[in-house]
């Protein structure tokens, strides 16, 4: 895992330098950048006058010591900004995954039990629609429907759960549906196909022939075994979640990692952007690790030696 983090950080560090636009110019603005001495001084302050590999080593050295640098725009420490932005994104991601599981698994199971039925067709159509609707459009639609027309929920914003849990959850419902809505079809389709596969297995026939209730056959025998590929898919969705969070957080004005990433790209705020990319890479790797651990937990046949 550690070599992968190092590799990812090296690649992302280099990619950032390929972005068109000069950070010194972005910070100073065209007016101040005309002052050549100040422009050069800013480049030196930012360390941009040195070769990229040296800059990388310097940055990596500081990161290892826990120093992620300072935002070039706000002069606030990048680590502080990252920590502040982390909580909303983690909460949103967990809620989105929960939402996709709560909706995707039951619908997937029902579809698998009665393939070709009305429920299956409707489930498939709805899930395909969910997969095709862009985050921003679904987000705006939900805001208009529940925030403006029905006025059931606040349209946008974020309140930390420690400050007011109910207000926090009310604000999180629409973003959760928006972000989770993109994963529901994946979970649903995966559950459906895995269940179809499992239901054809001989041990399911055996369970049925023992006279077990259908519900028990499905829940205890079939679903549990069908969960392995579903867990894999959810593990893979963490990267998708991070991408979706950029849009969802922008639409719902949530001060999370996604919005921090978007803002730091537009501002060429490299220290913050590098910290965000590193964190995202780490999150995806961590998710993969967790997926592997959960495999063994769900399926006792899997053991890592």
């Amino acid at each position: 895992m550690i070599p992968v983090v190092i590799l990812v950080s090296m690649i992302s560090f280099s990619l950032i330098f390929l972005l068109p636009g000069d950070p010194a110019l972005a910070i100073l603005g065209p007016q101040l950048a005309q002052d050549e001495a100040l422009y050069q001084q800013t480049r030196v302050e930012l360390g941009l006058n040195r070769p990229v590999p040296i800059q990388y080593m310097d940055w990596a050295g500081r990161v290892v010591r826990g120093d992620l640098g300072e935002s070039t725009r706000t002069h606030l420490p990048a680590s502080g900004l990252l920590l502040q932005a982390l909580a909303p994104t983690v909460e949103l991601s967990i809620l989105a995954i929960l939402f996709s599981l709560l909706l995707g698994i039951p619908v997937g199971v029902i579809s698998a039990l009665k393939p070709g039925s009305k429920a299956d067709v409707i489930g498939t159509i709805v899930s395909m629609l969910g997969a095709s609707i862009p985050y921003f459009w679904l987000g705006l639609l939900l805001i208009l429907t529940f925030g403006l027309w029905l006025r059931w929920l606040p349209p946008s914003g974020y309140v930390p759960p420690a400050q007011d849990l109910i207000a926090n959850l009310r604000l999180m419902i629409l973003p959760t549906i928006t972000l989770g809505g993109g994963i529901v079809p994946v979970v649903m389709r995966q559950t459906r196909s895995a269940m179809l596969e499992v239901l054809r297995q001989e041990y399911v026939t055996t369970a049925r022939s023992k006279g077990l209730a259908e519900q028990i056959v499905v829940r205890r025998h079939a679903l549990k075994n069908a969960m392995i590929p579903v867990i894999t898919v959810i593990g893979l969705q963490v990267g998708v979640l991070m991408g979706g969070a950029v849009i969802t957080e922008s639409v719902f004005s949530i001060p999370g990692i996604g919005r921090l990433a978007a803002n730091s790209i537009f501002d060429r705020d490299f220290p913050v952007l590098q910290a965000v990319v590193l964190l995202m890479a780490f999150a995806v790797l961590l998710a993969n690790l967790l997926t592997d651990i959960v495999y063994a937990w769900v399926d006792p046949r899997i053991r890592y030696s």
Binding site: P30, L32, D35, L148, P154, P155, S156, S253
Partner: protein, 569 residues
């Protein structure tokens, strides 16, 4: 759930052993369901309903500045209500609370800070410098003397005086300042006595007062010298490092989320009830980047005011009886274009003129402005010194455009590139321009760039033709000189014209409006002839207010003025 001290139940208590997968799943499902049910239930404090019903038609200020005062609500004593929190939403994120060094101002600057003078909209619609931290002033050739307000304290307890004013002027001129261009005419600042400040100018400066006012991009505000010296580069990065003299002080800042300012209760201006302003207790400004979400928040009653209502949202907002859409008669989102002096093709004035004649500005305004756009033929807008609708301008004439393309040496047409910042409206505009220019035999390759990359190209002149946008500045000098004068920072074309430079100096160097108007008229005539720059269209600037929010004032700049505002119940 369980009672761990009940030893009799130990055998049945399943959580004594490792949590089973099934039971954990059950618990998680139940908990998830409960949380969702709780969250979906209507809150005990539902989002406030619209005030409703007062009037179904939107309030819109007249498009002529002369009628601007009509939208100003003068509070009648007795109707004013004290207390409450006003919640606003602004489109752009703010970096910090250091006015001298920001590129995007936080909207609570007006409440936190004061400037030396305040550019105020007068009852007749004209703009006039009025006292703020300076009570009076004398402008004489190349000196400006300001008598300062006495007995004023900053939020950190330090005193306001001429020494602090001098420090601020010098800080605005220092290397890291973004306010440099506004104090460029100031050679030095000098303390005459504790409450008299003397500025020595490089030359007489007509725009000096507006450049020192809040209207100058929210930059020349006066900050606490004591705090600035103590905090250094960290000034304005937290409530503890921010101190102004305004009626409210910063108490909370959640970066990229919101900031809150709170009434100090010790401001020199008294309200209609005899107590210091502001009438409301606090002001919370949220950052909501998405145009549609901002309007939805206003319509749903969660916020009381929003900036920059996008054209596409105006029809829906106009239908809503709970809000007022108010057009700022001094602010427009102007869309313009220019040619790079480094482009071989556009060094030929005929080709530049051909482009000017090929553009149908009315069509651009109609399609892109979505009902709030106007064709723009001049660089100044009505109400500003030097605006004159009798000056020559380009309007669409395809035959002439084709002829000029041929005369420029391209009888079979020419291909040019157009650098465009990747924003929705600029992208659409570039597609329309492509079609319009194609009709005149000019093939356009659109070069779509993100904002920073686009800025780099403009600055280095590494483009052929480009579009840009701007808001309206407080003075013709701040609108025209940065564009048209040799070597200026926003001279995106890189043009250099000695006669033009002299005219701009003449306009800047006079305190007489007639002299200035004449100079700026000639500048516009000259830019028409050289055709390096061209206006396209402008969108009217709308602010959205909840009807609950009373006592609004009209401003020259896009920011709100809430000094006399209060929340009606």
């Amino acid at each position: 759930m369980g009672n761990s001290s009940d030893s009799a139940s130990d055998k049945k208590w399943p959580y004594r052993k490792l949590v089973s997968r099934r039971s954990l799943l059950k618990t998680a499902l139940a908990a998830g369901g409960t949380i969702l049910a709780a969250a979906c239930a209507p809150s005990s404090q539902p989002a406030s309903k619209p005030a409703g019903g007062a009037s179904s038609s939107p309030t819109s200020a007249p498009s002529n500045p002369a009628g601007a005062a009509a939208t100003s609500v003068t509070p009648a004593a007795g109707t004013i209500k004290r207390g409450g929190t006003i919640i606003g939403a602004q489109q752009n994120n703010w970096e910090h609370f250091d006015p001298h060094r920001n590129t995007l101002p936080a909207y609570a600057y007006r409440e936190i800070y004061n400037s030396l003078v305040r550019l105020q909209v007068q009852p007749d619609g004209t703009l006039k410098a009025t006292p703020d931290l300076a009570l009076s002033w004398e402008l004489k050739n190349d000196t400006a003397t300001f008598k300062l307000r006495e007995g004023v304290k900053f939020h950190d307890g330090s005193d306001w005086n001429a020494q602090v004013a001098k420090y601020n002027i010098e800080r605005m001129k220092d290397a890291k300042s973004a306010a440099k261009s506004y104090v460029a005419s100031v050679k030095s600042a000098e303390v005459v006595d504790p409450y008299t400040l003397k500025l020595t100018l490089n030359a007489p400066s007509g725009p000096l007062l507006s450049n020192l006012s809040q209207a100058a991009d929210a930059l020349p505000y006066m900050i606490s010298m004591e705090m600035a010296q103590k905090a250094g580069d960290k000034y304005g990065t937290s409530p503890e490092t921010t101190a102004g003299t305004g009626p409210m002080k910063l108490i909370e800042w959640a970066p990229s989320n919101y900031h809150t300012v709170q009434r100090t209760g010790s401001y020199w201006t008294k309200g209609a009830d005899g107590n210091p302003i502001t009438y409301y207790d606090s002001l919370k400004i949220r950052f909501i980047a998405d145009d549609s979400v901002r309007v939805t928040e206003l319509r749903s009653g969660n916020v009381h005011l929003i900036d920059n209502v996008a054209a596409k949202d105006i029809p829906a907002a106009q239908q809503d009886s709970s809000i007022d859409l108010v057009q700022n008669p001094y602010q427009f989102s102007c869309y313009l274009f220019c040619f790079s002096a480094k482009s071989e093709k556009f060094k030929n004035v005929k080709l530049r003129q051909a482009v000017q004649y090929a553009i149908d500005r009315e069509a651009l305004a109609k399609v892109l402005g979505q009902g709030v756009g106007e064709a723009m033929y001049y660089f100044l807008t009505p109400g500003y010194v030097g605006y004159d609708a009798k000056l020559p301008h380009y309007s669409v004439d395809l035959a002439k455009a084709k002829q000029l393309v041929a005369d420029a040496g391209y009888p079979s047409g020419v291909t040019v590139s157009l650098a465009v910042s990747n924003r929705e409206i600029d992208t659409k505009q570039s597609q329309m321009l492509k079609q319009m220019l194609a009709a005149a035999g000019i093939t356009v390759n659109i070069d779509l760039l993100d904002r920073t990359a686009w800025g780099d190209k403009m600055h280095s002149l590494q483009y052929e033709m480009a579009t840009y946008w701007t808001n309206v500045r407080p003075d013709p000098d701040s609108i025209m000189a940065p564009r048209f004068q040799t070597g200026q920072d926003k001279n995106y074309s890189g043009m250099s014209d000695k006669a033009m430079d002299e005219l701009l100096d003449k306009g800047r160097g006079s305190y007489d409006d007639a002299v200035r108007a004449d100079a700026y008229g000639q500048v516009q005539k000259s830019i028409y002839e050289s055709a390096w720059y061209g206006p396209l269209w402008y969108g009217k600037y709308y602010t959205g207010y909840s009807k609950k929010l009373q006592g609004r004032l009209v401003t020259q700049e896009p920011q709100w003025d809430l000094r006399e505002a209060w929340l009606a119940s």
